[in-house]
């Protein structure tokens, strides 16, 4: 299974924010869209960082004024990026190993989506579930 099979059912819209916006605005977007991280993109739509709940927390621990600061100050700049043809299994391994929870997906230089560790684990669970459901459907059938 590939990353594109996850993206296929998530819709094509990616929420982004500009680096000069405030953390307050970013947090409002996170809450509104019920997401844990937001991609930071420049005017031409290029990814320049990612701002996660954790980034906000980490900064807030040292700086009460975190909400007024520009996103660029607080975001993570070293972002691991995925491709639609990446294997879900390998991506899961990398996310757990390197302890990050959101993976922006870029295709031909264009940001096309973002997947979370939750998406990845759900997909793996559904795959296992699928094996079980196949067996169960067979058992129901044989009970005829």
């Amino acid at each position: 299974m590939k990353v594109r099979n996850i993206l296929a059912t998530k819709g094509g819209r990616v929420i982004t924010i500009a680096p000069d916006k405030t953390v307050r605005e970013a947090v409002a977007l996170l809450v509104h869209h019920r997401i844990g991280a937001i991609v930071v993109a420049d005017e031409s739509g290029h990814l320049i960082g990612i701002l996660s709940e954790r980034d906000v927390m980490r900064t807030a621990a040292a700086d009460e004024g975190v909400f007024g600061r520009p996103v660029a100050d607080v975001m993570t700049r070293e972002v691991v990026i995925g491709m639609p043809q990446d294997d879900v299994l390998a991506v899961a391994h990398t996310m757990l190993e390197k302890r990050f929870r959101h993976l922006p997906i870029v295709d031909d230089g264009r940001l096309i989506g973002i997947i979370s560790i939750g998406d990845v684990l759900k997909t793996q669970r559904d795959a296992y579930q699928g094996e079980i459901e196949t067996l169960e459907t067979r058992i129901i059938a044989e009970g005829e």
């Binding site: 059912t9 491709m83 990446d86 699928g130 094996e131 459901e133 196949t134 005829e144």
Partner: protein, 465 residues
């Protein structure tokens, strides 16, 4: 007006595509106790079950038995089957909008992905999708021709479909006789001169898409030796590291491949060679445009940013003599007239199964999708159950919130009149059960599990008797 989902005004749902996703969706809809729901399940073929009938390998009869569970779903009095009715040919999306509150597309993946190398279109180079549909007796593919007088065959790709294709080519007539393979395919495979089948993986054993039981089966064929080159079975350091976090099934698959690589040929009459780390770069033809050779490049693996291992071509090439090529590199959905389509992925754009308007990325009222046409051509039969359940949860939430289509003729009778007016030979579930009984009894006469009808006309003629 009676509330929607009451006995007086049931929620009317059209499901287009009677494969596993369509059936699982119907099952989940019928589980809903608070709403009265009626389901009309459409299929372009007179026969239900999609790839369970026309994809699953005929030598895997046990898996095909899942259809009895689908029969149970069909026994619900609020279920109807409209077989031999195609969206786009007999009826349109607008027709459905006029007769149903909700429409679910579960049309699967009807075609293949091209390889994109020179010579891909030579005579003798075929998509595996066509061969699979042919040996399973799909009416649209029964007249395809494959030159089985060729001795050497290449199958490109190492998914479970590639394994199916190679296994069917390597079975003996006696083995095939125990299956429900189409009669004409049985006859042609009986005359087959195929001696050597090469399955070509572009990455290594740890990245092979097939699953462990299917790999194991390759080592158990009656009259075919399965060969893996020891140097290709060995894992490179990147693959080895990737297995650190792998589950048992993945480890088992690699073990089986390595076990195969330690075997010596035992002199059986056919050979199946499972290759890794090679990609076709060109198919070479003779003066008549028939494929004769395939040029392969050896690959090495590199890790992407996100950790998957991808193939990279080296400058080592080899040439394989082959007279027949099957590309088995994945299925692909086809667009339905009047329904949005994601062209590069071959799926209907959706969020959790709600079909999205490509312009606004907002859900389209009353339109949904499930199965391979929703997420792409991946997963086993049962994977479509959680997939369909996700879609149906969203359908039910929308129905409860009143977000449904506004059909002007939302009755079972009106839908039947519509369909009957467009297609003179609608096949009902009762009709299908009669065809099913006939196929089983024809099978019994020949000592086989089933002998399929492979022409729509033959099916209709049998029903008219």
């Amino acid at each position: 007006m009676s509330p929607l989902g009451s006995a007086a005004q049931p929620l009317r749902v059209a499901i287009v595509g009677a494969g596993p996703a369509g059936f699982y969706a119907a099952e989940r809809l019928f589980k809903e106790s608070e709403l009265v729901i009626e389901v009309d399940l459409y299929d372009r073929l007179p026969t239900p079950f999609g790839l369970v009938r026309n994809g699953v390998a005929p030598d895997h009869q046990k898996i095909k038995s899942v259809t009895a569970a689908f029969d149970r779903i069909a026994a619900n009095p609020r279920f109807r089957f409209f077989g031999n009715v195609e969206l786009g040919r007999d009826i349109s999306v607008d027709d459905l909008k006029d007769h149903y509150h909700q429409i679910l597309y579960s049309t699967g993946a009807q075609t293949d992905r091209p390889l994109g190398v020179p010579g891909d279109d030579l005579i003798g180079s075929h998509p595996a999708t066509e061969f699979v549909a042919w040996y399973n007796g799909h009416p649209d593919y029964r007249d395809c021709e494959f030159d089985l007088s060729q001795e050497r065959v290449a199958v490109v790709g190492v998914g479970n479909v590639a394994i199916d294709v190679a296994r069917i080519l390597c079975r003996t007539p006696d083995e095939l006789l125990k299956t429900d393979i189409a009669n004409y395919a049985l006859e042609q495979l009986r005359e087959s001169r195929v001696r050597e089948v090469h399955i070509l993986g572009r990455r290594g054993p740890a990245q092979a898409a097939f699953t462990a039981p299917e790999a194991k089966e390759l080592g158990e064929l009656a009259d075919c030796d399965t060969i893996v080159l020891p140097e290709e079975a060995e894992l490179d350091p990147l693959s080895q590291a990737s297995l650190a976090g792998a589950d048992r099934a993945e480890l088992r698959k690699v073990e089986i491949i390595q076990e195969l690589s330690r075997r010596q040929p035992t002199g059986k009459s056919k050979r199946l060679v499972l290759r890794f780390l090679v990609s076709p770069v060109e198919l070479i033809g003779d003066e008549n445009g028939r494929v004769r050779q395939m040029r392969l490049v050896r690959n090495v693996l590199y890790a992407t940013d996100a950790g998957s291992l991808r193939p990279k071509a080296t400058d080592h090439f080899e040439t394989l003599d082959v007279g027949l090529v099957f590309r088995s590199i994945g299925y692909r959905g086809v667009p339905l007239p009047g329904v949005p389509f994601h062209d590069s992925w071959g799926v209907i754009p959706n969020a959790g199964g709600r079909v999205l308007d490509p312009a606004t990325q907002e859900p389209l009222l009353g339109q949904y999708t499930a199965g391979w046409i929703k997420r792409g051509p991946t997963g086993v039969i049962g994977t479509n159950k959680p997939d369909a359940a996700e879609t149906v949860e969203n359908m039910l939430a929308d129905a409860r919130a009143g977000r449904v289509l506004a059909p002007t003729q939302a009755t079972a009778a009106a839908a039947e009149a519509l369909v009957g007016g467009r297609q003179a030979h609608v096949v009902t579930y009762a009709d299908w059960r009669r065809l099913d009984a006939l196929e089983l009894s024809h099978g019994k006469e020949q000592g086989r599990p089933r002998v399929k009808f492979t022409r729509v006309d033959d099916m209709l003629a049998a029903l008219a008797e």
